[in-house]
């Protein structure tokens, strides 16, 4: 799978450099795509040569045919909103979820601040008269069925937790929205950013910094192990994710004693303020942690939570910011924000 995606990305880069257009209202296939179709490896596209309407995708709720280019788009997950805003002009989004409007969790809060809030109530969703509704894997099948019953087109897709999957998300959603050209260009932008970071990391020899990600809620401490968003970000930044190394998966609860046992060089706190600073203060003043390298050397940092808690390409920004924290030579580097369609 990874090799297929790598090949796909190579094709994307070639395609993008040719500057070809992949859009159209007929079933004609652009010349560049015909020889090397970058959508061929995108999971979920039924006929990658079809760039006209109607078009069909095979997603979590089965095969869904999209009759025409969606103009009124509504998604019910933050990750989907972030990908959507990266692909289509903002005015095509008709409403967003509550979390999308929250600065601490969302990377598109400013763009969506004037939009109405949508809940997962089918009646409320229907009231916005959307052409298409994108729901995540976590949405109930009943919601999909209710919306289908009132004639609303629903596409249920999974947001991937790994970098190659995120590029797939961008291309698939670009295809769904009829924005293949923008999706390709944006996939190239994201891939180049990722490549830049991974090349820097490859050039680092010697011992990798040992990092742990922590959040605290109601006296419980959660970390991020294998197959977690934060864990992937830490590894992308070139560090060892200690929770993953300890055999932990996803986001389990751990004790302070486990933090001592893992002995991190750096602790990333990925929760919003003010609780992040309060938690860091607790860690710094806790006598038990005094000998932990991250505490001893004052290397506990608040990570921007909106880069860590979402499931979208914005996680790459989290990896870039983490790299700035753990690699002294990147300390003053200014990474740009991602582009948005005009």
């Amino acid at each position: 799978m990874f090799n297929v995606l790598k090949l796909s990305l190579a094709a994307i880069l070639i395609f993008a450099s040719l500057g070809s257009s992949a859009c159209g209202d007929s079933r004609t296939v652009p010349t560049a795509v015909a020889s090397s179709n970058p959508f061929a490896a995108v999971k979920g596209i039924v006929d990658p040569d079809n760039h006209g309407w109607p078009r069909t995708v095979e997603v979590l709720n089965g095969k869904v045919t999209i009759p025409s280019k969606p103009q009124r788009i509504l998604t019910v997950s933050l990750g989907h909103d972030e990908v959507t805003y990266a692909l289509v002009p903002a005015q095509r989004v008709v409403a967003v979820g509550e979390f999308t409007k929250k600065d601490e969790y969302s990377n598109v809060a400013k763009m969506s601040k004037d939009l109405p809030v949508v809940t997962r109530d089918p009646e409320r969703i229907t009231s916005f008269n959307p052409d298409i509704v994108i729901v995540s894997a976590y949405s109930k099948p009943e919601l999909v069925a209710s919306l289908n019953n009132v004639g609303i087109l629903v596409v249920q897709t999974e947001l991937n937790n790994h970098f190659d999957g995120r590029v797939n998300d961008i291309l698939l959603m670009g295809y769904i929205y009829g924005e293949e050209q923008r999706a390709l260009a944006f996939a190239v932008e994201v891939t180049n950013r990722s490549k830049e970071l991974s090349e820097f990391v490859k050039g680092k020899t010697g011992v990798k910094p040992r990092v742990i990600s922590l959040v605290s809620f109601s006296d419980k401490i959660y970390t991020a192990g294998k197959d977690s968003t934060e864990g992937e970000i830490i590894e992308m930044a070139g560090a060892v994710n200690l929770a993953s190394e300890a055999g932990l998966e996803h986001n389990p609860i751990i004790s302070l004693e486990s933090v001592i046992a893992m002995s991190p060089d750096v602790i990333l706190v990925t929760e919003p303020e003010p609780s992040a600073s309060e938690f860091i203060q607790k860690l710094r003043t806790n006598k038990v942690l005094a000998e932990v390298p991250a505490v001893k050397n004052n290397r506990i940092y608040v990570a921007v939570p909106r880069y860590f808690t979402t499931l979208s390409f914005w996680n790459l920004r989290g990896a870039e910011e983490t790299a700035k924290i753990i690699w002294p030579e990147l300390k003053d580097k200014q990474y740009q924000e991602f582009s948005f369609p005009r």
Partner: protein, 357 residues
């Protein structure tokens, strides 16, 4: 000869001897449980160091050199957690033993008659209304108020025509628990602050992770006072078990004794729930197991249940700490995994004996 056989033989000996024997064994079990619990954890600490730290707290110097970090881990992470676990187990077991005598029902426990749900509702409201952030005693106090409110509601609704009804009690308990569960769900839906919502959700998951000396300070005065008073009322519990008329004939004023027992049981349950979340079945299974061994006399049953509950919770929490180390498992799941089959066993045994549930 097994410990159980020893205790069963000792049923023929005097009350004081049986109590002394049972307490001696349970105190020894408690000490072993504490040493096991203190010894195990993600950081490997030499056993000699563990024993040395414990003995030093008891004023017995050992001369063993213990590292600063190891000592801090034991003193500030493991010991407070173990003490909270012990107190929660003690409170729930005593509360269960009290409820079973009070309602003359072997299946009564703080959870089944709504006391735990009341404590949880009180604690959840204290978070949702922002009280717990401003006043550190708000959560245990509201937990206590919720427990007591639920207990009294169930109790008074179970009195039909001036007489207390067992079957009504269980049905009312189920209804009150469901109602309080609905209140908690409503709070989860309408609470406007995301941080409070998260706090409630994570609190409801229960558990003893990250318990500190503050939790010990908050809960110890209430639980130890309430538990001592309950144990002092063991004679009254014995008389209540025989029957209302017999209790009255022995000079017990049911209108005074029952509410006092309810208040005390609710107090210790509410406070325990407020520092640990809802932990099921401890109040049900511990008194039962103890009763099977030492008999139904509450003068022995109560103190032994208290110690048994503490030992059970400390061991269950130790299991929760190490079973998927370095991650934490939920102690509530462990107690339920043991307690639910035991509860079913009791139901079936009861059916065999009485012909009905």
């Amino acid at each position: 000869m097994s410990i159980v056989s020893l205790l069963k033989i000792s049923k023929h000996t005097s009350l004081v001897s049986r109590l002394a024997l049972a307490l001696s064994l349970l105190i020894a079990a408690l000490m072993i449980a504490v040493i096991i619990a203190v010894s195990l954890g993600p950081v490997s600490i030499p056993f000699s160091a563990t024993v040395s730290v414990i003995l030093s707290h008891l004023g017995i110097p050992t001369g063993v050199d213990v590292g600063v970090t190891d000592r801090r881990i034991i003193d500030y992470i493991r010991l407070p957690r173990i003490i909270v676990a012990g107190m929660v187990g003690l409170a729930l077991a005593l509360s269960g033993a009290t409820m079973q005598a009070l309602f003359r029902n072997p299946m009564a426990d703080p959870g089944i008659i709504g006391v735990s749900a009341g404590g949880a509702a009180g604690a959840v409201l204290s978070i949702a209304l922002g009280f717990s952030g401003n006043f550190y005693l708000a959560q245990p106090l509201l937990g206590f108020a919720g427990s007591m409110g639920a207990a009294f509601l169930v109790y008074f609704l179970s009195i039909i025509g001036g007489r207390f009804s067992m079957s009504t009690l269980l049905l009312v308990g189920i209804a009150v628990s469901s109602f309080l569960g609905a209140i908690i769900s409503t709070v989860l839906i309408i609470v406007p602050d995301t941080n409070s919502l998260r706090e409630i959700v994570f609190w409801l998951a229960g558990g003893l992770d990250s318990r500190t000396w503050e939790h010990v300070q908050i809960s110890a005065p209430f639980i130890l006072t309430g538990s001592t008073l309950l144990m002092l009322m063991s004679r009254e519990l014995n008389l209540l078990m025989i029957g209302d008329d017999e209790a009255r004939s022995m000079g017990i004023s049911l209108n005074i004794v029952r509410p006092i027992l309810l208040v005390l049981a609710s107090l210790i349950t509410g406070v325990a729930v407020s520092v640990s979340g809802t932990i099921a079945f401890v109040g049900l299974i511990v008194p039962h197991i103890i009763r099977l061994v030492v008999g139904p006399d509450h003068r022995i049953l109560m103190p032994v249940s208290a110690l048994g509950g503490a030992v059970f919770m400390i061991l269950a929490d130790t299991l929760a700490r190490i079973i998927i180390e370095p991650a934490e498992f939920s102690v509530g799941i462990i107690t339920s995994l043991i307690g639910a089959p035991f509860f079913l066993f009791l139901l079936i045994a009861n059916k065999r004996n009485t012909g009905s549930f």
